[in-house]
């Protein structure tokens, strides 16, 4: 039997990843927590937990609520702040050559810029991912990703002042994700990643109280996969820059499905928390499935959905 060679590399234009699997922000800590489980070098890349300028305590508990094939979370972007993250990145970069992606947060445009500039200056960082789903303190808690003009203004500001490729991460919690995607592209984004969590809610029937103090929380996990796949399909059909698909991915088959609707790579989220070695399995599954379906490289199926 002839040996079938498959090429798992994922081409984003500005960077080629060894495979399309990138653990997502908030689901992979700072990378080093996964060191005991597997060699990070096997990954296409990984995104660090979202970072603001200053340390943040995060939200009061409860922060998690399990739902059917998913979880609601209200963590509140707890984190050590930009200064401490720089130290962590230097430490992590010593044991892996996999591209490190920093998820940039901000309560104001100025804060986003300062955080972006901080990590743009670090040679250990490959890409910046702009988390435009952070509640903005000057906009009554509305996030940039819910407003075309704000998205455009913020992405442009970051692009004008940084050199690293910029991935803009979109939220599904907006009226029209396609117009936000187009605004980000017009402002100079190099790539889009979508989707962030879907806002959901949980209540206690007995006490008639909401589960979360913030009332709503972000839903992730396999439950959101079909919703995410549809939005990735819609955005891929409307923009020319590469797209990283995110939402409930747990298997190699899921990865190839996102690529089929047009994604160039994917981010894996919640599965990393419940199965720390999920990336190893998913990458193996992609390879086996490509061999089985005689797909030599990902470009063959990228956006190849027959409609």
């Amino acid at each position: 039997m002839g040996k079938v060679d498959v090429d798992l590399s994922a081409d984003l234009g500005f960077i080629t990843l060894k495979n399309p699997v990138i653990p997502a922000s908030g689901c992979f800590g700072y990378g080093e927590e996964f060191q005991p489980f597997f060699d990070l070098d096997i990954l296409g890349g990984f995104v660090l937990k979202g970072i603001y300028l200053q340390p943040r305590k995060g939200n009061p508990p409860p922060r998690l609520h399990e739902t059917a094939a998913g979880i609601l979370n209200s963590i509140g972007l707890a984190g050590p702040g930009a200064k401490e993250l720089k130290t962590i990145i230097k430490r992590v970069a010593r044991f892996t050559s996999t591209p490190i992606i920093v998820n940039v947060c901000g309560e104001t445009d100025e804060e986003y810029l300062e955080v972006a500039e901080t990590f743009d200056a670090m040679p250990e960082v490959a890409l910046l991912e702009l988390n435009i789903s952070c509640p903005n303190v000057r906009k009554g808690g509305k996030c940039p990703a819910q407003d075309d003009r704000h998205t455009f203004r913020l992405v442009k500001l970051i692009k004008q002042n940084t050199r690293k490729p910029l991935v803009v991460k979109l939220t599904p919690n907006t009226g029209n994700i396609v117009s936000i995607a187009i605004s980000a592209q017009e402002a100079g984004a190099d790539c889009l990643s979508l989707v962030n969590t879907f806002l959901g809610m949980a209540v206690h029937l007995e006490s008639r109280a909401p589960v979360f103090k913030n009332l709503v929380a972000g839903l992730s996990g396999p439950a959101i996969k079909p919703l995410a796949l549809k939005l990735v399909w819609e955005v891929c059909s409307s923009v020319s820059i590469p797209v990283i698909g995110i939402g409930g991915i747990t298997t190699g088959k899921d990865v190839l499905e996102f690529i089929l609707v047009g994604a160039s790579a994917v981010q894996t989220g919640t599965i990393n928390m419940v199965e720390p070695c999920a990336s190893v399995r998913i990458i193996d599954e992609i390879e086996s499935l490509m061999k089985e379906l005689k797909i030599k490289n990902l470009n063959e199926i990228k956006g190849a959905l027959k409609v």
């Binding site: 908030g26 689901c27 992979f28 800590g29 927590e33 005991p36 489980f37 305590k57 995060g58 009061p60 508990p61 409860p62 922060r63 998690l64 399990e66 059917a68 094939a69 998913g70 979880i71 979370n73 963590i75 707890a78 996990g221 396999p222 747990t250 919640t270 990393n272 928390m273 419940v274 199965e275 720390p276 070695c277």
Partner: protein
Amino acid sequence: MKEEKCVVVENRHLNKKYFLMKLEARYISTHAKPGNFIMLAASNTVDPLLKRPFGILKAEPPFIRLYYEIVGKGTELISTLKPNDKVDAIGPLGNSFPSLENKKILMVAGGRGIAPIYYAFEDYTSTNDVFLIYGARSRDDLNLREEIDTVPLKKVLLYTEDGSMGKKGLVTADTREIILENNIDVTISCGPDAMFKSLFHTIDDLEKENYVSLEALMGCGFGICCGCVVKTAAGDYKKVCTDGPVFKMEEIAWEK
């Protein structure tokens, strides 16, 4: 810590909603220390998605034993596991109990909180005097009594809320007096939140060395999701999974 495919050796129903499980877990059993816990899969599908945390009752390589209570869908499913079933686990996780020598230790267990407490007996009883207060709702919630009888404890005091076994009352009813009468140096407790709160307000001023082993709903068990935090006296949050589950009692913000 590692992801390990474990084999169910025994999953025995004790009474009411309590079970005793024996798992073959080579890696976890040889690396575990008293106080550690594991995350155990409730299903081999994505629903329920999250693994469940269990304090280890005992590690006897290549086996570990768990003592658990059905509290929801996840533990209900786990209770249906049969011998030779394979089940995914992550462990050993969390910190462990402090090393202590030549101390008078009072261990306080409420309900299923006996599990990690029991695991600590072997280490502690060899070089310390260990006293145990063990309480629960009723006689049927006070399991593992035969196992406890084999441990060389200085004194065992049982409490039930309905008086069906031991003294009638809450596990914390006489803690203060017991500490004073026996010149206790260290307390180590594990049980429900209400027990910790009551204990804290009863004994905090005695200025003993007090440790608590906390239970929490967890997403991952190894520090990633930040979902299991507890508020500290200093006003920030600590993760029960990686900063704990064992904390100094005064570190935690106990509400009145």
